[in-house]
């Protein structure tokens, strides 16, 4: 499902001409099977977000190969990557990244619009997904009229709406209180079971990481498998 082989990446930091090379990903190998929830845990600056960006294709790594759903995405162009993401990958962001000018419904609808789906077909799919994540009551609300938990549900619904096989989640509970955090984790787990979606979750929260099928620890750009939790 997701195969990373020997991923290496270096950031150049400092003034022009006096840049320092800082390695952020060091020979990272990762194998994620279909239907798994994999958590990557680590401190700030450990390189976990960089790894997620590399998987998503937002970042071209210095070396190594990335295979998603059996397709080598390492050398895809920006446009090809975008097309691939639109079909296969959903995103859950820490700060939700909702469009402030769009209602909850319109936010969820956005990927389908980009796909070019017709209005009536869109309406049915969006209503179904919003119902699935428990957002039926707030479809016409704007993001600033929603609670943190509701906003994250909208974000999850937007990630789900194109029926992707992979969802990449960057600190999905980072902006939520502990009670809402549990709700969102439960939702992720139930979606994983019912829709057979593979989740890669980046977190610094051990509790969140422990709820995954597999847990990896990122430290100074190196990825190591940690103890597997029983979900």
């Amino acid at each position: 499902m997701i195969t990373l082989t020997n991923i290496q990446h270096t950031f150049l930091i400092g003034k022009k001409g006096q840049e320092k090379k800082v390695p952020v990903l060091k020979n990272v190998d990762l194998q994620v099977d279909a239907g798994d929830i994999v958590a990557i845990v680590g401190k700030s600056g450990s390189g976990k977000s960089t790894l997620l960006n590399a998987i998503a294709g937002f970042l071209k790594t210095d070396s190594g190969s990335i295979k998603l759903n059996g397709i080598d995405t390492t050398d895809l162009s920006e446009a090809e990557h975008a097309k691939f993401r639109l079909k296969n990958v959903g995103f859950i962001f820490q700060n939700f990244q909702l469009m402030p000018g769009l209602t909850a419904f319109e936010n969820v609808e956005l990927p389908l619009k980009i796909q070019g789906m017709g209005k009536s077909a869109r309406f049915q799919v969006v209503r179904q997904i919003m119902d699935r994540v428990g957002l039926n009551e707030v479809i016409d609300h704007y993001p600033n009229e929603l609670s943190g938990g509701q906003q994250q549900r909208v974000c999850i619904a937007r990630a789900l709406v194109t029926k992707p096989s992979i969802i990449l989640a960057d600190e999905p509970t980072g902006s939520l209180d502990s009670e809402t955090e549990l709700e969102i984790l439960d939702l992720i787990k139930s979606l994983n079971e019912s829709m057979d979606i593979t989740f890669v979750v980046i977190t610094h929260d051990e509790e969140v990481a422990n709820s995954a099928h597999k847990k990896y620890r990122m430290h100074d750009g190196e990825l190591k498998e940690a103890t597997t939790s029983a979900v």
Binding site: F58, A82, K83, L86, F91, M99, Q115, T162
Partner: protein, 432 residues
């Protein structure tokens, strides 16, 4: 993304930044309207001058003059193709001899000439009433000929009339079939020459309201006896060579045949004059004038384009995070670029549409108001009519201005749109 959704997307963003977009549209409108109104002056004046030329002459007519040593060979000319008729006419310009026309108690000066009625008939030159005479006694008069013949009461009425007042004088009813007496009077002691004719045809109505056609055309057959009498009665006071001007006109079968026929006549070393020749020269001048004015107007649009560029650059900067999210969830760089180019095109299209409407309003107002102001200032009758157009906006001008305006708007939005496609997703998602 479906086209309808793209339009919705653009409209949503326009709504969000109403004030900024409004001012940018306003600048585009002003630039485009300036271009249209400026160029419309050239179109208006060209139209007016063209009408002027066309109203005074027949389009199929080619005036032919002998080329100095080369006298006109009518028989040779007649052998050319595409000639419907050749008309030789003689205009009278008499010094010290008065030529008056009289119908009943009404009298007036006559602008007399001798023409070939048969040739005019063949050239299909229209009459408003009657027909071309077939006998020596028949004449054709201009449309306003009868109004030029005044009775004694008419003269008194005119004397009493206040300045600017235009009382109805002359013969108002139709003079077709009426007898006209023509009288040539010389110095005291000479015997006048008197002839009587019947009006068999009345010339076409002038295209201009203020134009007065008061001519009187006699047949060429009547010329000889009148000239003989004028010579006999007035002696040296009548000089035929200086007072009677001959002109020859060749009428082409249709407008398309005029240029070729004109060339053939020139090849025979004759001098020629045609209305289309004059129109062509006039058109060349106006093409240059229009191009110049459109160029000046385009500068105004280019200035407005700076506003569009700024607006679009700000839009891209403000929406960096939004663009990042769109790219993250799978929007291609092409789609992002298209959405921004569409937004600048939207500004261009709305601005141009308002400009076109505004330009028509300005043009109509100018055509209505300027003649009134000029008439009030100069009391020149020709200004007090709808015939003079100071501004005209044909559809070609609307198309040219729209293409320039919308084209410039799209080009102005191009660079900001390219910038949007290059936004880094990671950086964009980090923005608050």
């Amino acid at each position: 993304m479906q086209f309808r959704d793209q339009i919705d997307f653009v409209r949503q963003h326009v709504k969000k930044n109403r004030m900024r977009i409004f001012t940018t549209i306003l600048a585009t409108t002003m630039g485009c309207a300036f271009l249209i109104v400026l160029a419309s002056i050239a179109f208006g004046l060209q139209g007016t001058l063209k009408d002027e030329v066309l109203s005074s002459d027949s389009l199929t007519r080619i005036e032919v003059y002998d080329g100095g040593d080369q006298p006109l060979d009518i028989e040779k000319i007649a052998k050319l193709d595409n000639i419907s008729s050749i008309s030789e006419s003689y205009a009278m310009q008499l010094d010290n001899i008065q030529n008056k026309a009289t119908i009943g108690a009404n009298t007036g000066y006559a602008e007399s000439s001798f023409v070939n009625f048969d040739a005019l008939k063949k050239a299909k030159l229209p009459l408003s009433k009657g027909h071309y005479p077939t006998t020596e006694d028949g004449i054709v008069v201009g449309y306003n000929f009868a109004q030029n013949l005044l009775s004694k009461e008419d003269e008194k009425t005119l004397e009493k009339a206040k300045e600017g007042e235009k009382p109805k004088v002359g013969i108002q009813e139709s003079v077709l079939g009426k007898k006209v007496q023509l009288k040539w009077t010389g110095k005291k002691g000479t015997k006048p020459v008197i002839r009587e004719f019947t009006i068999e045809g009345i010339g076409p109505k002038p295209k201009r309201e203020w134009e007065m056609n008061t001519y009187l055309q006699m047949s060429n057959e009547a010329k000889q006896s009148i000239v003989t009498d004028l010579k006999k009665n007035f002696g040296k006071a009548f000089n035929e060579k200086e007072m009677i001007y001959k002109s020859t006109a060749v009428y082409a079968t249709d407008l398309e045949a005029v240029p070729a026929l004109n060339e053939e006549l020139k090849a025979m070393e004759y001098s020629t004059y045609t209305v289309s020749q004059q129109l062509e020269e006039m058109n060349m001048f106006f093409i240059a004038l229009k191009a110049g004015l459109i160029f000046v107007g385009t500068i105004a649009i280019l200035i407005a384009s700076i506003g569009i560029f700024n607006t679009m650059t700000m839009a891209v900067t403000e929406r960096t995070r939004e663009i990042g999210v769109m790219k993250a969830i799978g929007a291609s760089p092409k789609l992002i670029q298209r959405l921004f180019v569409m937004e600048s095109a939207y500004i261009g299209i709305i601005g141009t549409a308002i400009a076109v409407v505004a330009s028509y309003i300005i043009s109509f107002t100018a055509n209505w108001l300027i003649p009134k102001i000029l008439y009030a200032a100069t009391e020149e009758q020709s200004f007090n009519s709808s015939a003079i157009k100071f501004s005209a906006i044909p559809w070609e001008l609307v198309v040219i201005a729209s293409v320039i305006s919308i084209g410039v708007a799209i080009v102005s939005g191009w660079r900001p749109a390219r910038k949007a496609t290059k936004i880094d997703v990671i950086q964009a998602l980090r923005q608050d």
